[in-house]
């Protein structure tokens, strides 16, 4: 059947406005099924309804609401409550997205079907997977799901319980204790995240437990925005923070949650009052059939389809999207491109040329923010940063720059979550 395009757009607009998605679906020509309701999935669903109202959009997400990873560190600092970083899916429903609260169990890219744990089977014309990460339990000896109750990771928010547990432990620890962090090698979700976390824990300790120390044991030699973070740490927290790279025995290889001990590669044992273990990661289970040996999904740089599964676009932290970081903003940006590419391919057209955008703000202390910017394009050798653009905040004594970036970070959080869930 064919409707005049403008009339169809109006009908779809009315359907969205009246929150009557069944009308929209009756007119729909193609089914877009999105797995995962985080930064990638919610961005895809929202953008699909705004820009391609002809698509019938279903979002599969087990959680009833979404707790963001970004700003979780501000909950640890005591600046924010979990409620302020928890988002409802009602806004997406009102846009005409069918939200199914179930877990995707299997994707069949040939038959173009997704089976849900609850038994429902969803057919699709195009699928977008944005399932996020899975933690590699056991990659650090002794670190399993039970250990994560005593030594929380706080890296997959789920229902927020991990963040809540870590915050409670910080509140309960004595002044003068050691907060230990175990930080993984690359690639992992949110490259500046562990260092913002160190900063936000330091902010809390300086105000409430100033004799305490932070021992950050890292499996790497360097990290995102390193000079800026370390400048800020010295200026704001003196010698509270000790960061130990792998070459100085920073790699944690074993943990003992009962004894509250970290053990490093060369056998040094560190007793901690609070232990935060951010373990090595891979793409979530649902994406593993499409993953490489490292556990991440190689994707086409223009459409973000899995290399071994045309029609299945994989966005967010689950893909091997280097050199782009595994960030919320990149998930948002690539999700929109994946939807636009899917819509073009469904019309029998070439996918649009992408421009991917990222900004990662980090809070280092009160009125002290820093950032890294990246603009990326697809070239003959894959995705590359646009030469001469992007980069990190300038170094130096620049209080107004830091103050503004902290405010811009807050504005980013409100704007991007508003776009995704509003």
């Amino acid at each position: 059947m064919s409707l005049h395009p403008s009339r169809r757009a109006i009908l779809a607009g009315l359907a969205a406005g009246l929150a009557a998605p069944s009308i929209g679906r009756a007119q729909a020509t193609a089914r877009l099924v999105i797995v995962g309701g985080g930064f990638g999935g919610a961005s895809a669903a929202s953008f699909a309804r705004r820009a391609h109202p002809e698509l019938d959009v279903t979002l599969v997400e087990p959680q009833r609401s979404f707790v963001t990873c970004p700003y979780g560190n501000l909950v640890l600092a005591g600046r924010r409550g979990l409620d302020s970083i928890t988002h409802s899916y009602d806004g997406l429903r009102a846009r005409g997205v069918r939200v199914v609260h179930d877990r995707a169990a299997e994707v069949d890219p040939t038959a173009r079907r997704i089976r849900l744990a609850g038994g429902e089977v969803l057919g699709f014309d195009r699928a977008i997977l944005s399932p996020g990460i899975a933690l590699r339990w056991g990659a650090i000896e002794g670190y399993d799901e039970a250990a994560a109750q005593r030594m929380p990771h706080g890296w997959v928010p789920g229902d927020g319980s991990q963040t809540r547990t870590l915050r409670r432990m910080l509140e309960e620890m004595p002044d003068g204790g050691v907060v230990g962090l175990a930080i993984p090698g690359n690639p992992f979700r949110c490259p500046p995240g562990p260092y913002e976390r160190i900063s936000m824990i330091a902010e809390y300790l300086r105000a409430h437990k100033p004799r305490s120390k932070i021992l950050a044991l890292d499996a790497k030699e360097g990290f995102s925005k390193q000079a800026l973070f370390q400048d800020g740490w010295r200026a704001l927290y003196g010698d509270m923070i000790e960061w130990v790279p792998a070459s100085r025995d920073g790699k944690v290889t074993r943990v003992d949650p009962a004894a509250m001990e970290f053990e490093t590669e060369f056998g040094t044992r560190h007793r901690v009052a609070v232990g935060n273990v951010i373990p090595p990661q891979r793409a979530a289970d649902i994406a593993q059939p499409f993953a490489n040996e490292g556990g991440w999904v190689p994707v086409d740089p223009v459409t973000f389809e899995a290399r071994n599964a045309p029609g299945v676009h994989v966005v967010g932290d689950a893909n091997a999207g280097t050199p782009m970081p595994k960030s919320g903003y990149v998930a948002n940006s690539t999700a929109k491109q994946a939807v636009a590419a899917a819509a073009a391919l469904l019309r029998g057209e070439a996918p649009p040329e992408p421009v991917y955008f990222n900004t990662c703000y980090s809070h280092v202390g009160p009125e002290y923010g820093i950032s890294v910017v990246g603009v990326f394009r697809a070239g003959p050798d894959g995705i590359a940063e646009v030469s001469g653009s992007g980069g990190v905040s300038p170094r130096g004594d620049l209080p107004e720059q830091r103050r503004l970036e902290a405010l811009y970070a807050d504005a980013w959080y409100d704007s991007i979550t508003g776009e995704m869930f509003g």
């Binding site: 403008s6 757009a9 109006i10 607009g13 406005g17 953008f47 705004r50 820009a51 903003y329 948002n332 940006s333 929109k336 491109q337 636009a340 649009p352 992408p354 421009v355 991917y356 955008f357 990222n358 900004t359 950032s371 910017v373 603009v375 646009v386 001469g388 653009s389 992007g390 980069g391 905040s393 720059q401 503004l404 970036e405 405010l407 811009y408 807050d410 504005a411 980013w412 409100d414 704007s415 991007i416 508003g418 776009e419 509003g422």
Partner: protein
């Protein structure tokens, strides 16, 4: 100019206005929305771009890219975009209701 635009909006049937408001930003400009808001409405200290003059936005982006305008972050961003992209993005923001 402003008065004639207001007059046109006044005469436009509601569904035309709705359709205009729903025209998505160019793909190259989608990255702007994560800070400047899904309709360019701005957020706190982040500038509102909706309804701003197209030429003013283009001039600002060129000045940011050339480090000729004080910037916190926009200088790093502006250098990533082509003139054609900046012109299309500026036109879209200019067409959004304030």
């Amino acid at each position: 100019m402003l008065r004639s635009l207001g007059y046109a909006l006044f005469l436009a049937p509601a569904f035309v206005l709705q359709a205009a408001a729903q025209t998505p930003a160019p793909l190259a400009g989608q990255g702007c929305l994560g800070c400047h808001g899904s309709a360019g409405q701005g957020q706190g200290p982040v500038a509102a771009l909706a309804g701003r003059d197209r030429g003013e936005i283009i001039a600002a982006m060129r000045a940011f890219a050339a480090n000729e305008r004080p910037a916190t972050i926009m200088n790093r961003i502006a250098r990533g975009y082509t003139d054609a992209e900046i012109e299309a993005i500026a036109a879209w923001f200019a067409a959004q209701p304030r």
